[in-house]
Every structure is written in structure tokens, then in C-alpha cells.
């Protein structure tokens, strides 16, 4: 039977080679224990540094920021128990929580906080880099931040995830984070970039001990896969549920759906310095040409999410109920275009002095609804005689097009509460020289000075009037054209109770959950 044996040996060697190379990566995965809360979402993590970890460690309750915020953006104590301004608003003092310790047992010292804030100031992606900070110094029991000029939103900026405070032992020799050692209710047990994070409750936490001891997060890229995981009970909390899956999962047993509107708007960025789009009548016509309710109903499966103004109702201070809503009005749109000199050509496309109304629209697929909404915009504007070419590319094509001036229209979702005070994002997005994710070729003196007054510390009725003025100017001038608002949904298994969604997406509030008995 020699031949028999050699065939067997041959195939055994081959399979051993193939299997042998594979290692045992499957063996040491997260335990499928009943006491692990399994969280699934679309987000992947690309680094451990505070600026590149996409807020994972603050959302999971591993790292803390000096200041925290509730769902309405009201600031709350975090690592700092109190803060006060002095020197006419050009200096702030933050008092640290005295019993705070990092997960490696070391104390949260003013020096550790100073180091974290200095690192964030050097990081261009952090809003702290855009704040007028002159110096951060350690003081007994706290830190002092000196400013070049009064800057009222500073505490809100210190609630941004990029300012999270990590232990000195987290950093390697080159200043990069090698291990995330925070001071929150959970400590990191295992990280497998880009898709897995396991955390356990920390013994050093002096607040209420969370009922859920262990959490395992897994990134899953496809919405279909996430929905099936939620349905099959493989996930306890599932983020990023698309509208179609949400409708289906609603009927499934053993799960609930939690929803909240986000301070995020889908909008059309317009090059207002463009020879055609620079005419405010044209921008108003494009806006009136959009049937936002139909788009929200058909594509987002949520007609309430049709935008009537830039700021969604969840931004309570900025949303202005009295503002006349943006409405679908094709007749007015055509009149406005005719006023601007555009008349239909032989093929239906508008022309003026022999020039055709053709524009490009850039968007990207990171949020799956954007490309479909872009084609709906293309169709709606086509009805008016505007030929739109949709280009679906990378998110960086939009800032790149802003910089080199080739961008005409862009569709994206903007989060106005990157820091709990939307003012910080607005100050950047609508600065007179324009911004990558904001206005382009557009500025308004009244808007600039109103925003500056708000940043300088205007409060009470002055601030209310200022915010109203800002919303009114943006609605009339349309430097960006609002399209839709956002509702975030999560599927939650009946295994847990007490789940709520944070509209600011700062925290997943998993430490507030309890197991159903």
C-alpha cells in the first residue's frame, strides 16, 4: 500500500503547511461568556492616540476629559470638579478631582493633565489647537490655562475627546500612545486594531461601580451583517443600523430600538465665490428645487428628518422655530433662475450667454446615505434644468477641492457638536476666509461679528438674539444648503436595561446599563 500512503502523506503535509501557517488567532478571542456585553458598530479604530482613536476610549468610559457634558450640551464635572475664569476671561483655573487615579494605580496629577493638554494643542485635528491658548501650567490641585483673548467656549473644548487625559505610562519614547491607561470606570483589557476592544470594570474607580463588568466592542463594516448580528442575539448593543434594517429588526423578538436625533446635518456646501453659484438667487433656487420631505421619506425612511433650517431641533439653543422653513417650491426656483438670466436650452439644460448650467457635486460613501442622497439632489436639480455631475470619492476630496478652488457643490454630514458648544464648530466653519467643511467664498460681516461677540462671552438675551441672527443670516444667504437632519438608532437586546443614546455621541453610557433579571 505504498502508493496509498504517499498520497495520504502528501495531502497531510499540504494541509499541515496551510493550517500550520495560520497560527492560533482564533483560540484566544473574547470569551463568549454571559456576563460580557457585546457591542457592535461600524466604526474602526485607526490608532490609540487621543486624536486618532475616534473617541472610542471616551465613549467606552476608559479615558476622561476635564469637562463632561449631558445630552443637551450642558457642561458637567469630569476630571475637573470645578472651573472658573479670571483676569477678564483670559485665564481659567480647573480644579482636579482629588481621588482620581489612573488604571495603573498612579495618581492623576496636574502635571499629567498639563502634558495631555499640551499634546492636544500640538495636534492640528484637535479643537484645542484652534483655541487662543497661550500656556497651560500645573498648580497644586489643578491646572491654569492662560489665553491670548477671552474665549468663552474653552470648557466645552476641554470636553472634546482629543483632550482626554492619559497616564504618563501610556506614552512611548516617541510620544505616541502605546497603551491606553485612563482614569474612567473601565480599563482596557485587550485592543486588536482596527476592530476589537475589550474592557473590564476598573477597581480604582471611586464612583458607582457599573453593573456591566465586561464589554467587548467589535467593528463590523457592513450594515447587513450588523443587523443580522442584532437579530441573531450575537450583539447586545448594535450601532449604525440603516433605515431598511431598522424597519426589519423592529419586528424581531428580544430586541428594542433606541433612537435620538443628533446635532448633525446633511448639507450641500456651495462655492459662493463661483461665477454662477455666487448669485444668492441661484443658491435659493437650488434650495427651493429640493424636495427634502420626499428625500427623507424615501431614502432615510424618516420624513421628520427633512431639514427646514440648518440647525436641527436637537440643537435647542440654535434651532429657531420662528424661522420660515425651507420648502420645496419648483415654481419659485424657476423664477429665481430666470431672474438670474438662466433660460432653458434646447435639451432642457439652462443656459446664459451660451454657457450651460453644469456643476459637479462631490460626496463620499463613508456614510452610506450620502451617495444616494447625492443622486436624489442630482435628479431634483435636473428637473430645474441644472446638469449635476455626481462624483463619489474619498472624504478628503472635499477639503482638497476647497483648497484648490475646484469644488462646486459637495454633500456631507456636519456634526455641529464636535465639542458640546456648537459655537466652536460655527466659529471655524463660517470664518470670513472660509473653511474646508464650511463656507467657501462667502463671508458676512454681521455674522462674523455676532459669532465673535458670542465667543467673547455674551450671555443672556444678547446671546439669544445673537444666535437668532446667525440662524437667520445662514437661512437667507445659504452659504451651505441644508438637506436633512440625522437620527441615530441602536438595537438593544432585552438582556440589558437602561440604555439611552447620547445625542452628542460623546459617550455610549454603558456604565449606566444593568442586566435584566
Amino acid at each position: 500500500m505504498a502508493g496509498n500512503r504517499s498520497v495520504l502523506t502528501g495531502s497531510a503535509v499540504l494541509s499541515a503547511l496551510l493550517v500550520g501557517c495560520t497560527g492560533t488567532s482564533g483560540a484566544d478571542g473574547p470569551a463568549q461568556d454571559a456576563d460580557v456585553l457585546r457591542v457592535v458598530g461600524p466604526f474602526e479604530m485607526h490608532g490609540l492616540d487621543p486624536a486618532t482613536s475616534e473617541g472610542f476610549f471616551t465613549r467606552l468610559g476608559v479615558a476622561e476629559t476635564l469637562v463632561e457634558a449631558d445630552g443637551d450640551g450642558r457642561l458637567e464635572p469630569g476630571l475637573a470638579t470645578a472651573w472658573e475664569e479670571s483676569d477678564g476671561g483670559t485665564a481659567w483655573t480647573f480644579t482636579l478631582r482629588p481621588d482620581a487615579v489612573f488604571h495603573d494605580g498612579s495618581e492623576v496629577t496636574p502635571e499629567a493633565v498639563t502634558a495631555a493638554l499640551d499634546a492636544a494643542r500640538d495636534e492640528p485635528a484637535s479643537p484645542l489647537a484652534g483655541a487662543p491658548v497661550r500656556a497651560v501650567t500645573a498648580e497644586p490641585g489643578g491646572v491654569r490655562i492662560e489665553l491670548d483673548r477671552p474665549y468663552a467656549p474653552l470648557p466645552a473644548v476641554l470636553a472634546h475627546t482629543s483632550t482626554q487625559v492619559l497616564a504618563p505610562a501610556s506614552f512611548g519614547a516617541d510620544g505616541r500612545v502605546e497603551e491606553v491607561i485612563g482614569s474612567g470606570p473601565y480599563r482596557v483589557e485587550r485592543v486588536e486594531l482596527p476592530s476589537v476592544i475589550d474592557v473590564v470594570a476598573s477597581d480604582g474607580w471611586t464612583g458607582d461601580r457599573p453593573d456591566v463588568e465586561r464589554i467587548s466592542y467589535q467593528a463590523v463594516g457592513r450594515a447587513e451583517s450588523r443587523a443580522l448580528m442584532a437579530e441573531s442575539g450575537q450583539a447586545d448593543v448594535t450601532f449604525g443600523i440603516d433605515p431598511v434594517s431598522r424597519q426589519r429588526v423592529e419586528g424581531a423578538d428580544g430586541v428594542q430600538i433606541a433612537s435620538v436625533t443628533l446635532p448633525r446635518s446633511i448639507l450641500l456646501k456651495v462655492d459662493a465665490g463661483h461665477e454662477v453659484l455666487g448669485d444668492v438667487r441661484v443658491r435659493q433656487a437650488l434650495s427651493a428645487g429640493l424636495d427634502r420631505e420626499a428625500m427623507a421619506a424615501a431614502l432615510l425612511r424618516d420624513p421628520e428628518m427633512a431639514a427646514t433650517q440648518l440647525f436641527p431641533p436637537s440643537l435647542r439653543e440654535w434651532h429657531d422655530e420662528s424661522l420660515p422653513a425651507l420648502e420645496h417650491d419648483p415654481r419659485t426656483a424657476r423664477e429665481l433662475l430666470a431672474e438670474a438670466g438662466w433660460t432653458p436650452g434646447p435639451d432642457g439644460v439652462l443656459t446664459r450667454d451660451g454657457e450651460r448650467f453644469e456643476v459637479s457635486l462631490r460626496t463620499f460613501p463613508d456614510r452610506p446615505e450620502l451617495p444616494v442622497l447625492a443622486t436624489a439632489v442630482q435628479d431634483a436639480l435636473g428637473e430645474l434644468g441644472v446638469a449635476v455631475e455626481v462624483q463619489v470619492g474619498n472624504s478628503s476630496d472635499i477639503p482638497a477641492g476647497h483648497q484648490d478652488g475646484t469644488l462646486e457643490l459637495a454633500l456631507y454630514a456636519r456634526n455641529f457638536a464636535l465639542v458640546p458648544d456648537p459655537l466652536v464648530t460655527l466659529l471655524g466653519d463660517f470664518r470670513p476666509e472660509g473653511a474646508d467643511w464650511g463656507a467657501m467664498g462667502w463671508s458676512d460681516r454681521a455674522l462674523t461679528s455676532t459669532l465673535a461677540d458670542l465667543a467673547g462671552g455674551a450671555d443672556g438675551a444678547t446671546a439669544d438674539a445673537g444666535r437668532e441672527a446667525v440662524a437667520g443670516i445662514l437661512q437667507a444667504q445659504l452659504p451651505v444648503i441644508p438637506v436633512a437632519w440625522y437620527r441615530q438608532s441602536a438595537v438593544v437586546s432585552d438582556r440589558v436595561e437602561g440604555f439611552t443614546l447620547d445625542p452628542l455621541e460623546r459617550s455610549w453610557r454603558l456604565d449606566e446599563l444593568s442586566w435584566s433579571s
Binding site: A27, L193, E224, A400
Partner: protein
Amino acid sequence: MAAGRAELVLVTSVPLRAAARQVGSAGGAGPAGDGARPGRLARRAAIRRVLAQRCVQAVSVTVLVSTACFAVVQTLPGDVAMRIAAGRYGYDGVTAATADAVRAELGLDAPAWQQLLRWWADLLRLDLGTSLVTGRDVGAELALPVASSLQLAAVALLLAVVVGGAVGTAAARRPGGLLDRLTTVWVAGARALPPFLLGLLLIVVFSVHLGWLPAVGHGSASSVVLPAATLAVGLSGLFARVTRDTVAQIGGSAFVAFAETKGLRRRAVLVRHVLRNAGLTLVAYLGVQAVLLVEGVVVVESLFAWPGLGHALVHAIFWRDVPVLQAAAVALALLVVLVNTVVDLAGLALDPRPRRREVVP
């Protein structure tokens, strides 16, 4: 296959080699050992030749592939620093300012040829560099994807070979019979079903309704089953087809008829003559499929959130993470060389024909 020429030689060579092996396993050079020696030497020479050729190939492939990757990335549209910033900070954080910081940090303003020279120099020292997006060592970055891809490919291949081989061999016994025709239907059906749809169906049946297996993920040992089965279903059809054709063809050849006439039992004929010869074709085919499996399963990887090489490669291209892209492409290329080497060596071991004509008296 040049069966006609090989037949006569085969009949003589199999007992000869069997004798040689018996002597070899007895651990000494007996009287018969001298007679088998030229055959063994020739085999060793052939193995050395294969290994030498493949080593040269590995080195040249590494240089070519990494250079080609670099050139392709340079010609892709879009600003490299912007893409890397998008990868690092996400779409809320990519701005001209962050891209400028990335450009300054990574020295992307340097001329392309300087960047390429740097990569070559690092490669000589076996240093794969660090990822432009995550800042981690590329070796560490790719360890998990390579291991996951190999694991998935190995399990899928094993499943496909076991199922496809058994069905194909059985179908070949009676060409045109019921099982044979069922196999044809299976092949057509399995190939016509897109892996994405098949994967979803498997999840719905085995995870959602039956609750036997985890739907998605890469944590527990059982999570490999569904993605591997998704890949194996399509492959097993092909394997069944190829096995059936090869086995049927060899089964109809003169040397099998001779072996049967000689009085060998059917099982012995099948194992010793038919399957061994069929193995040659099948191992070569297996090699091709192994390479395809490792490289071309992005759809299945993304459906099952399997952190494989396809996933890593797509992200590296999307973010212009050149070091990761080059290393991943080189890893794939070397894997192709490795699989080909294994196939060659397995072919040498399986092929009953002698290496040199003069061995046959």
C-alpha cells in the same frame, strides 16, 4: 496530460519506487539500495532545482511588486497627505491643516525617487517601515490579516477538497449516472450563487434561525465556519468537477485496465493508480485556488467582518498607506511563490514517472 507516453513507464516505475522506499525506511543501504540510488539522486536534484528557481523568483517578485505598488500609488488621483489625514482623523477631522501636518511629519514633499530608494534600503534590512495612518510597525499591522487570511483559506480549501474530492471520485465511478448528473447541477448552482448572497443565506439559516453558529466576527473558533463554508461551497463544485473529469479520464486509460487485468482489487487500483495520478492535476489546481482564496475574498471578508488581507489591502489603497500596501502586496506575491513551490514539490512527490529516462532499464 501526455498519458500515452507515460503509461508504460508508469507500470514499471511504481513497484521500483515502492521497493526503494521500503529499503530507505529500513534505514540502510541494502543490496537493492544501489539499484534505486540514481532515482533518489535525480529526485533530490529536481527538488534543489525547484527550490533554487523559486528563491530567485521570490526575490525578483518582491522587488517588482513593491516598485509597481509605489508607482501605482504615485499615479493615483488625489492628494496623498489628504488621504492619509482622512484615514487618521476620519471625515470630521480631515482638513487642509491636518493634511499639512501629515505632509510635514512624513516628508511627503520629498521627490518620489527618494521615497522609493528609502523603501528599498529599508527592505534590504528587512525593515517594512511603519504605517502612515496608524503609526504602528507594518509587520505588527499585517500579522493579524495574514494569519486570518491563511486560516480562512486553509479551512475553506480543506472543506472544499474533502467534499468536492469525495463527490467527484464517487461521480466518476459511473459517468453519466445519477450522482454524476447531480454533481453537474451542484457545480452550476454553486458557481451561479454570488458569495455575498450565499453568505447572507448561511447567516440567516445557521445564526438567526437555528442559532448554531456566530453570524459575524473573528473571536471564537467557531466563527470561521460560516465564512469558510461560503467560500467552500463554490469551490467544492469546481473540485468535484475537476476530480470527476480527471478520475474518469485516468480510469479509462490503458494502465488502469492493465492493473485491473493483473488482478488488483478495485480499491487498490483506485488508490494506487487512479487517485495518485489524479492527485497531480488536483494539487496543481488546489494551488491556483489557494492563491485565489487568499487574495480574492474581499466580499466575504467584509460580510463576515473577517480581518483578512483583502480588507487590509483595500484600506491601504483607500488611505494611500504606501508601506502597508507594499508589504501586503509583497506578502501576497511571496505567498503565491510559496504555494507554487509547495505544489511543485508535492508534484515531484506524487508523480510516479521517473525523473530521468535512463532510470528505467
